[in-house]
């Protein structure tokens, strides 16, 4: 097992004919992911290195039975791509596109709650279940199949920590990059719940950073519902305090959003916190 994707995943790529879309689609396929279709309006009937391209998601799903979508469309079309994918009943939508307006995401996330589709991202590197499937832009060669689940708000920092784990011979069940945008799909709590239920996952690494209150919510969930051990890392302990406009953000979250506050919340929940990526891997190995 693993979470969200595995060897049975049938992947469709929205925006497959773009430069980035085509590049990563072929990398994902080379990794072993079953890429069954692509969609680019105006390019239906073409193919990308043998992968058929359709005009609409509905046609692609009809023809190929795709169940997961990887989305590379430009930011201004991103919300529409989500609506289209959800409308065809795709189970998992992985939105790599960055720079999507918050208003578009608030509307789309609200809409998706009423559907059976689950969103990861936007502005995220995607996810990988090592040895089974890679959906997104995480470099597959740094990963190794194993039993550590990983969920992160960051991209390259995730690679760094995965790399440190792999170098110690510690493999991963699934590595999930949730992205750093304020309004996003799957978050820490959702991923932790899935890892807790996944028989292959034995422990979990949570990688947070300054801002928002995702880490504080993760800490509360861990103390109440997780039985598997969790190791955390929070980037930005030495970041200078940002300038603040108003009070509304602090009133909504009840948190200062600093790395220190997040580390304290994790430690109060009994989570071991590494001070740097190397220490995180050491704690997982311990």
């Amino acid at each position: 097992m693993s979470i969200l994707i595995d060897e049975t995943t049938r992947l469709l790529v929205q925006g497959i004919t773009g430069k980035e879309g085509a590049f990563h689609t072929l990398r994902n396929r080379a990794y072993g992911t079953n890429v069954v279709a692509g969609v680019t309006p105006g390019k239906g009937g073409q193919d990308v290195d043998g992968i058929p391209v359709y005009e609409t998601v509905a046609e692609a799903v009809d023809a190929t039975g795709a169940d997961t979508s990887l989305i590379f469309v430009p930011a201004r079309f991103a919300a529409d791509a989500l609506y289209e994918a959800a409308g065809s009943g795709l189970e998992l939508l992985v939105l790599v596109t960055e720079g999507i307006p918050v208003l578009d995401m608030v509307s789309a996330v609200g809409y998706l709650r009423g559907t059976s589709s689950v969103l990861l991202g936007g502005n995220c590197p995607g996810l990988i279940s090592p040895g089974k499937a890679n959906v997104g832009i995480i470099p597959g060669e740094i990963c190794m199949r194993g039993s550590v689940g990983l969920i992160s708000r960051s991209g390259t920092l995730t690679y760094q920590i995965v790399h440190e784990l792999t170098q110690r011979g510690i493999g991963q069940s699934t590595c999930v990059g949730m992205g750093g945008d304020p309004v996003h799909g799957i978050g820490f709590v959702d991923a932790l719940r899935r890892f807790e239920a996944d028989p292959e996952t034995e422990s979990v690494v949570v990688i947070g950073e300054i801002g928002g209150s995702d880490e504080e919510q993760a800490a509360a969930f861990i103390s109440q519902e997780m039985t598997k051990p969790v190791v955390a890392y929070v980037a930005g302990l030495s970041a200078p305090a940002g300038k603040r406009m108003g009070h509304a953000g602090a009133i909504v979250t009840g948190s200062s959003g600093t790395a220190r506050a997040k580390v304290d919340a994790f430690e109060a929940a009994g989570v071991r916190v590494g001070r740097n990526p190397t220490e995180v891997a050491a704690l997982v190995a311990a």
Binding site: Q160, E209, S238, I251, G254, N276, P277, T278
Partner: protein
Amino acid sequence: MDLYEHQGKEIFAHHGISLPPAAVAETPEEARRAAERFGGRAAVKVQVQIGGRGKGGGIVLARSPEEAEEAARGMFERGFGGMAVTRVLVESLVEIASEFYAALTLDRSRGTYIAMVSSKGGVDVEEIARTDPDAIRRVPVDPRIGLKAYQVRYLTGHLPEEARRGTASLLPKLYDVLIASDATLVEVNPMALLRDGSVIPLDAKVTVDDNALSRQPEVAALRSSFPVDPTQARANEKGLQYVKLDGEVGIIGNGAGLVMSTLDVVTQAGGRPANFLDVGGGASAEMMATSLEVVLSDPAVRSVMVNIFGGITRGEVVARGLLDALERVDADMPIVVRLDGTNAEEGRRILKEAANPRIVPASTMLEAADRAVELARISPDGVHG
């Protein structure tokens, strides 16, 4: 993008919100003339992109045009919160009966907007949130259906009778500002009930979503009024995220999280980061070269740590970019380079073959931080040795 108060209020006015008469002044004399027009007495308010003006002396109630001129002069000369001040808002005084607080913002944890009204206004609304949470009513707002009348009734239900109608008429307009301007924050503190029974914003804090600026050309144009640091502007022009800090170890990395983590390990190694610089994904040789130029333009920098984990970014491109930059930049400080990920071995080989004496290879992130901190202590001018 955080707007000045007067810019927020100009957007408010476009949406039919009543405001006290006011004028922007860019010199003390303009401030005096504005105060004269408002009958002599006026509030002089510093225009900056941060909060805390009330407590920090950024708002002065002037009793005469001369006092207004004097207050403005002080603001221009001293700046505010370490920021340069180029304009103040001179606002006609109003007869305040009582003060409240209203805000519309993002609720990140719910993935939606939230509207809030506090029956207690003034400076310390966060303190009120902690000590008297019932004073603040909040409702989630779904932009697909908008702010509804029943929500407004709830939000204003705990206000004194005489303030409800005015607030109920103001809130939908503030919501219009939020959506029409792609804002992530519209905060009014204080929101004042005047003696004439009307409810108006005395302040406006508006933050606009940077991702939406391309479809908000009028708001985006306001950017030209904000002070810019020339180094930062140059970095941003090239698509680099650069923030100047106070230390002596220059930092270059790829990805915000990894760069933040790099600042942390340098601090843990006993050094002080001179900057935050994220070259982003898929950095080209040209971008690496520009990054190095930007970091080295800070005279406080004594050593540089380059920390690249290649995903899309390729190691050999980073290596060539660094060597190319060293041809162009007159740098005499050590540059500690740690490369991992895609084509890292190739990158390390290129650096080794070039045998540039200023490049110090490191095999791990922690080793690189230790070396960079150590080398920063041995400064080229010998002062820090």
